[in-house]
């Protein structure tokens, strides 16, 4: 039984060298490449030493899933197959992870919702599966367009939840994600989310690490629970599970178990901050107005900030990179002097604004909006207009211009 370190410097069957992950991500020469977000998923997985990828088609992740199939054909992934449904896929991912495999999958929108029962199970079983979520509409009537509502459900599952803005984020975070989620004190599944189509189907310049370098393989012996022990929880669910007993001890054990999952999310802070240089990125947080955003709402906010700057209005920006762990202290600190906190979102409920309102003092400063959903784009002008309205400056509505 070899440790992870003992693989460093050796070659895999594709002649890739197992490389110290820190050196690979931070010191190795990068090559600028022009790719779609889906292609970037493929390129990250090519370097991730995955044992298994399980796929099921659902827009807008189908292309990424199919491209990972090509990786399997080329010999970069240990095994690859299509599940019967999203629920089946996520259950099969659990089986493989219980057995000690590094597992990767992708899903989106209604697929995420269909498979939802599995996610708290993954977290409770401490399975470090990585799932890409290319967010889209989830409600009837059907929409395949970008909408981030599903993220709000994932945030309560006990998984790590990160929200990528760009294809570059996606590339780096897929690889760093395994490093964080496989730490023995974390060892939780990661939902790495992006805004479907906006990231998956547009081309962008991405700096790639060398193709002949890859992550060292997963070491299941560092797991905080025994690998596939059929006699012990969480595997042994149908004989003597806590839930089948009516006594204080059983309830207390289950409660303690849940707390341990959320404790592990807290522990991921230290590792995530190290790998991703913080849970948030900030620009000009000394401004009176600060936009707090995640995903592609950050990109649109940057454009809005440029528009406002031309009009003499200075606005700061806070990019939320991780939703679980939640960067509460970082947001408090960065917004402590702001008079207005503006939160643009691609969903109808404003879940990010709710989280921020629960975090900052004087939360009447939080302005939840603008919101778009159902696949609508969020032109920077509507963010700028929202801020101007907040400041009492009269603006024409964007719709009226069209």
């Amino acid at each position: 039984m070899a440790t992870q370190d003992s693989f460093i410097g050796q070659k895999n069957k594709k002649d890739q060298v197992y490389t110290d992950p820190w050196k690979m991500m931070h010191e190795a020469e990068r090559t600028p490449s022009f790719f779609t977000g889906s292609e970037i998923i493929k390129e990250a997985v090519r370097r991730a030493s995955c044992d298994l990828m399980i796929a099921y088609p659902i827009t807008p992740q189908s292309e990424a899933a199919a491209l990972c199939g090509e990786l399997f054909a080329e010999g970069y992934i240990g095994d690859y197959f299509r599940g019967e449904s999203e629920f089946a896929v996520m259950s099969q991912c659990a089986g493989a992870a219980f057995g000690g495999a590094r597992v990767f999958t992708t899903t989106a929108g209604p697929g995420t919702m269909r498979a939802m029962e599995n996610f708290p199970m993954w977290a409770g079983a401490r399975l470090p599966i990585q799932m890409i979520v290319t967010c889209r509409g989830i409600n009837s009537p059907l929409s395949i367009q970008p909408d981030t509502l599903e993220i709000s459900y994932l945030m309560q599952t006990g998984m790590l939840v990160w929200h990528a803005e760009t294809a570059q984020d996606f590339y780096d975070w897929i690889l760093m994600g395994y490093m964080v989620s496989e730490e023995p004190d974390v060892h939780l599944p990661l939902a790495l989310c992006c805004d479907g189509f906006f990231v998956t189907h547009t081309k962008d310049m991405v700096d790639l690490t060398p193709v002949d370098m890859c992550l060292p393989p997963y070491d299941p012996y560092r797991s905080p629970v025994p690998c596939m022990d059929m006699e012990c929880p969480p595997v042994r669910m149908m004989r003597d599970p806590f839930v089948m007993k009516s006594n204080y001890i059983s309830y207390a054990t289950h409660a303690s178990w849940q707390q341990e999952v959320w404790a592990a999310i807290e522990r991921s802070r230290k590792h995530t901050i190290r790998w991703m240089n913080g849970l948030i990125d900030t620009e000009n947080t000394d401004a009176d107005i600060i936009i707090v955003a995640s995903g592609t709402a950050v990109s649109q906010s940057r454009e809005a900030i440029a528009i406002l700057e031309d009009e003499g209005i200075r606005v700061g920006l806070l990019k939320v990179k991780t939703l679980r762990p939640w960067p509460g202290e970082e947001i408090q600190e960065a917004t402590k002097n702001a008079k207005h906190i503006v939160i643009p979102e691609f969903n109808v409920t404003g879940w990010l604004a709710r989280e921020v309102k629960a975090t900052v003092t004087n939360n009447e400063r939080v302005h939840a909006g603008p919101h778009v959903c159902g696949g609508m784009t969020m032109p920077p002008e509507i963010i700028a207009s929202e801020i101007q309205t907040l400041l009492g400056i009269k603006t024409a509505t964007l719709a009226a211009r069209g």
């Binding site: 004190d185 012990c232 929880p233």
Partner: protein
């Protein structure tokens, strides 16, 4: 995260919070923590030895990772655990103190209940601690998730002082935790017990 929370012997609460959720952070390599405060490892060695020497029933709970000879390191660690136990036993006052070695052989919930004289179970570790009146204990060779469950339940319902000798990143839910445990580190703790023998007041 700044926190005033301290990881102290209980009974703390009907359902105590995880120390991690209260802002306690794990030590880096070469460090340990005492009550949630990061300290040099050697300081924690001394503190753990003092706890064993001043307890009425200092107890070691070895888990499956050291109970089964599944690799050479495990066998070596098991011998070190036995050596630590023998050292504690020889170093305490037999009239006032009783060192114990009680295994956690597996993690299965056992009903109607375990025999607390012969084992400890992560789902109800308080039963073994109450039954044997254990006031200081050390977990070693227990998978991290199961150790955290146990340590938190113990803190919730007992006044036992908990020490974790963890092979990975350590445990905030213990009152004192080492990380990156090796056989040599366990032996070093035994040496601290020897060194302090006779200099720590036994319990009244």
């Amino acid at each position: 995260m700044t926190t005033s929370y301290k990881v102290m012997p209980g009974p703390e609460h009907y359902l105590p919070p995880s120390a991690s959720s209260m802002g306690i952070r794990l030590p880096d390599p070469g460090q340990a923590h005492i009550h949630g405060t990061i300290v040099p490892e050697e300081e924690a060695m001394e503190q753990a030895a003092r706890q064993f020497l001043s307890a009425k029933v200092p107890t070691i709970f070895p888990g499956p990772l050291v109970l089964w000879a599944w690799n050479e390191k495990a066998a070596k660690k098991a011998k070190a655990v036995r050596y630590l136990y023998e050292t504690i036993k020889e170093s305490v006052d037999p009239k006032k103190q009783q060192a114990m070695l009680i295994p956690m052989p597996d993690y299965r919930p056992k009903y109607p209940k375990i025999n607390p004289e012969v084992e400890i179970n992560p789902n109800h570790p308080n039963l073994t601690i109450w039954h044997n009146k254990i006031d200081a204990c050390m977990f070693v060779g227990v998978h991290c998730h199961q150790a955290n469950l146990s340590l938190k339940i113990i803190r919730g319902g007992t006044n036992c002082y908990t020490v974790a000798m963890c092979a990975q990143a350590g445990h905030e839910d213990a009152m004192l935790s080492f990380r990156d445990a090796t056989a040599e580190k366990i032996e070093r703790l035994a040496d601290w017990v020897k060194k302090l023998k006779g200099s720590v007041a036994p319990p009244e």
